[in-house]
Subunit: 456 residues, 3 copies
């Protein structure tokens, strides 16, 4: 703690928010590096390559409609909307930070997805024959997923970082994500269709740890801007609704063809529906006159989708999904009422969007639900082929049994937590250096620092 | 009338808008009941169950892409957007009721779809073997459809009911819808792909009857808030456009695979396009200087989609669709100019969003168009197989002929009307009880009653 | 120049913005004409006709899922969103012109797509057997594409034309487009999947030429309204993001089934991602303190999608797409900084939305990229079958070789330029007539001319 304190003081020089050199430099250099690496490493896979016609004949595939594109593309576009409109508009709720919310979200997502294609490619789909990464629609979905974890982290630090810091945070976040994902999915062989662990738990603790390292004791000097106005709350509802509606696509985008995608979509749809009711109930209970709080409606209604992520493709049963949503609506809303103020006051973690309530807790719940339901899986419920398909008990893992799979799921959750907290602390240290152009404590949450703003 | 009058007086006690007990109680109790009922009744169907792999082999289905998921999912997501963003934002036009418009829309839709899965399941897809309801993507679409009818009804009472009343209205509305739909589609064997009768006619008359029962003689005391501001009108256009764009998906979502979905989408697209032109024409004609009125553009442009609903899958021919849209744009816009004020003044029906013009009249027109075009169907136009597929002349109905089908369509329309008006009157009586926390007449259309609002 | 000057003076009578006769007249007459022409000419094609069941059996098609509907419909809906929400909201950035932006966009798109179905049908899909145009989902996508070119042109004249003028501009624009497209795609046999030439180059120069003909020397009298406010910029970001996200669907909507659609989506996704980074970099560099300009973020981030249009289905390679996006982000943003003011001052072209930077330059770049990459195509990269599929070297064109194809692509670009400039000048002359109800120079960019507006 003393060490952290002294490091902190050393970093606390007066702030200069001019990013005219650093931002363009970072954008140009990184984009050029990415282009070079793409030139060396990235090629189309057989389903997007012009040789598909020959490959199709060779593999005896009866129709073009069996190209994976047609299984994935509608889900991909929904996920894409969640990343850019969903996350972007969800964060527009602050009265004078809408440009940054939606604009920096755009910037870091556009950069992050390119970096993710490289990092995930190296870890997951490097072709041993020619050393190239072969990309397809599924890679694009995975890149969007990867970006989601960094956008979650952005929620914790919203209004407090400069765009350059956000780019750095994203660069490291994507890298950590790719390693983390490789360990959880490939080495540990945990299943995580909707990313409760890999995306939400990791992303949220990554963001919270960074926010903890960058604690601003005098942030209440910016209090006047740390709130919403009427119209900014309506804008934020655009984000909420697109996230809410398309979450079934998020959780089913990369699950198994056929029943896997079908079931994941149904489970997510149901979990989200019951979350809305308990969120409204707790929100109303928490106010003297029973009024609802927009913050809860905008955020906690989504918690069910997070928590059902890992287990979305499992045989949760419709009532199981409803129960998960039911609990998460309550926990998440209570989090906004009690835990966020507690964390700010006692743990020195300033969490602008309350991602602890929306992503961290539901993510951990999702990991636990995944472990329990995997351990409880049985041939009676899944059928023999269904069990093998759902948990991918093939190849090296063909002797795996559900009870052990449950243990692996739990191990995956721990890895996600460790990567999130550990990575966040290290990256937080880096971001404390006084060279990144972030705002002084009395001028946070303000678009005018980084945008030409015309108020009248 | 005298009876209604005295009932009215008995109910007119001073209003208390505190819903701190009732709203959470309703949400919790109903959600718990739904979970229990889901536990007892609802299971995955064979296409979303993990046994699909075995079922597929057994049924000799050649590819996973023939899972119904891939036929329905893109349309489902479009319908989902219409329900939550479309209806939600369409109603944000009031200057200080955007939170309630989009928030309560969210609440009642999330509750309604769960209840709809149960009610529609009991009536339509109870498996006689094990007494369970088997759900799939098509059930989710049907649940969304069912919810649509209650959201239409919400349009009539927008700004005047408390969230608890809306929940009650939805509970009964969904129940009535399920019975109504069972009678029209199963017993009468009417066809109604896009729900002109089942969804729009029923929903609109249900809402109008409720509004009639809850007539507020002093509503003009809230006149200052019963209007739009510049930005709220732009928000409402988000709703309009998403409804307009995705209506082809709405009308084709549950039609026959192949040409049925294809044709329904084309017909709806064309009907909506011509509606826009006649709406603009009449709107401009109605003002002294030819200016357009946003109310018309936001609402009447959608009337063509409503009116083409029943007949969307029929061989309407492209010009037929254009003619339907042409007429509905005129009728709906004239409705806003002449009929809505007339209804308010003489019939004592206060219709906030003008659903009579957007859903009721076009819905009835759609039912009539459906009856006429069904009666006129011939083997020459449809082909033998096409006629059987389109009108489902199979099983018990294999001896049906188009001319009799026309009669059944007309009967379906009458049933929808009766259920709407009758159900609305009964539910309206229930909602008059002075226990629901609705607003006094001089404080309607105001978010501050039910939301924490920060105006600056 | 002298001739143009005198024509201009003759047209400069005092303006009257009352469109109460002309607007309804145009809407009614044209809609009725369209209905009659649809009645004479337009029928369903075999995949949307009720005879599909018989056709399927006859053609030995194994499943309903091979109906073209399932290949195209998700992309179609994305394109539809781009046309109505994307273009519509992108133009809401002006402080008092949001109603017109989104409303007139709606009007001209709804009219344009009907006219496009007719015009494109006559040129491209008239059935020689019965003289009918057979429409399907692909026709609807093509109609939306056609409309896009007119909405691009609308960007140049935003705030300066009356709705009647816009309708006239659209009528001629669609007609020119159909001829232009027929020459480029059918006679010259150029490939243009995403329409860099046919849609963007043509549309942009058409709009710019019209704006040049309608030059308003005293437009700075409306300067007070020719700018954005905070919330209108956030609305415009809705348009930007929906365009950006769905551009992969735009460029892949009508490409070949299978790898063609797959590859086009990947290429577009990557080009757009790198455009964002260079746009941010240049935007930040251009301001003294490194602040970002919303105009650039809203527009230039889309340039990569335009420029990759023609070549989207080619084997551009992922790094190739990134390079295209990289360059276009720079060029487009520099265009906003230097070229737009230059054009206004010296060339007398007033370009409200800066379509020269977003569509014209990137469109031309896209045409050149298409020509170069087509000329460089080889059997080694594409495979024999792939080359034939991608460039459609079949039938009459079966002896075509890539190097000659490159020349044809270049010829196509020239045709698009000529049609755009030539057509724009002629239509501009027509629109100068003082009968159309456009605004005086001191009252442009104002919704109050054509809309009932309530500001409080």
């Amino acid at each position: 703690m003393g060490c952290r304190q002294s490091f902190r003081q050393c970093c606390d020089r007066p702030k200069n928010t001019n990013v005219r050199i650093s931002l363009p430099a970072v954008c140009f250099v990184w984009q050029i590096v990415v282009i070079i690496l793409f030139g060396i490493f990235i090629r189309y896979d057989q389903e997007s390559d012009a040789h598909w016609a020959e490959y199709r004949k060779f593999q005896n595939i009866s129709s073009d409609i069996e190209n994976d594109f047609y299984f994935r593309y509608p889900s991909f576009q929904d996920v894409h909307v969640m990343i850019f409109v969903g996350f972007g508009f969800l964060m527009t709720f602050l009265k004078r930070y809408s440009f940054s919310a939606v604009g920096f979200n755009f910037l870091i997502a556009a950069f992050g997805l390119q970096w993710a294609l490289l990092m995930q490619g190296w870890f997951q789909s490097l072709d041993p024959m020619d050393g190239k990464i072969k990309i397809s629609m599924e890679s694009l979905i995975n890149a969007d997923f990867c970006v989601a974890s960094c956008l979650i982290a952005y929620g914790a630090v919203l209004g407090k970082l400069s765009p350059v810091q956000l780019m750095v945070m994203t660069l490291f976040g994507i890298t950590l994500y790719a390693v983390d994902e490789y360990i959880i999915l490939n080495l540990i062989h945990a299943r995580d269709a909707g990313g409760s662990m890999v995306i939400h738990t990791f992303g949220a603790y990554y963001g919270l740890s960074i926010s903890w390292m960058l604690y601003r004791p005098n942030l209440d000097q910016s209090k006047r801007l740390n709130g919403s106005v009427y119209h900014s709350d309506v804008f934020a509802m655009i984000g909420t609704l697109f996230l809410w509606m398309f979450w079934p696509s998020f959780n089913s985008a990369i699950t198994d063809h056929g029943d896997g995608q079908h079931r994941a979509a149904i489970n997510t749809y149901l979990a989200l529906a019951s979350t809305v009711l308990t969120t409204v109930a707790i929100s109303s209970l928490s106010q003297k006159t029973g009024k609802l709080d927009m913050v809860h409606i905008q955020n906690s209604t989504l918690a069910g989708g997070v928590a059902v992520g890992t287990a979305a493709e499992f045989m949760l049963m419709p009532y199981g999904s409803l129960i998960i949503g039911f609990c998460c609506g309550i926990i998440s809303t209570l989090g906004y009422i009690y835990i966020t103020p507690f964390m700010e006051k006692y743990l020195k973690i300033q969490d602008t969007c309350g991602i602890h309530n929306l992503h961290a807790m539901p993510g951990v719940i999702g990991g636990i639900v995944g472990a329990v339901t995997a351990a409880a899986a049985s041939e009676g419920v899944y059928g023999k082929a269904g069990l093998i398909n759902t948990f991918d008990f093939t190849g090296k893992w063909k002797d795996m049994v559900p009870s052990r799979q449950g243990g692996h799921q739990a191990a995956g959750l721990c890895v996600a937590l460790c990567f999130g907290v550990g990575g966040g602390i290290i990256v937080g240290c880096i971001l404390r250096m006084p060279i990144w152009g972030d705002a002084p404590d009395d001028n946070c949450f303000d678009d005018e620092l980084y945008w030409e703003v015309c108020l009248l």
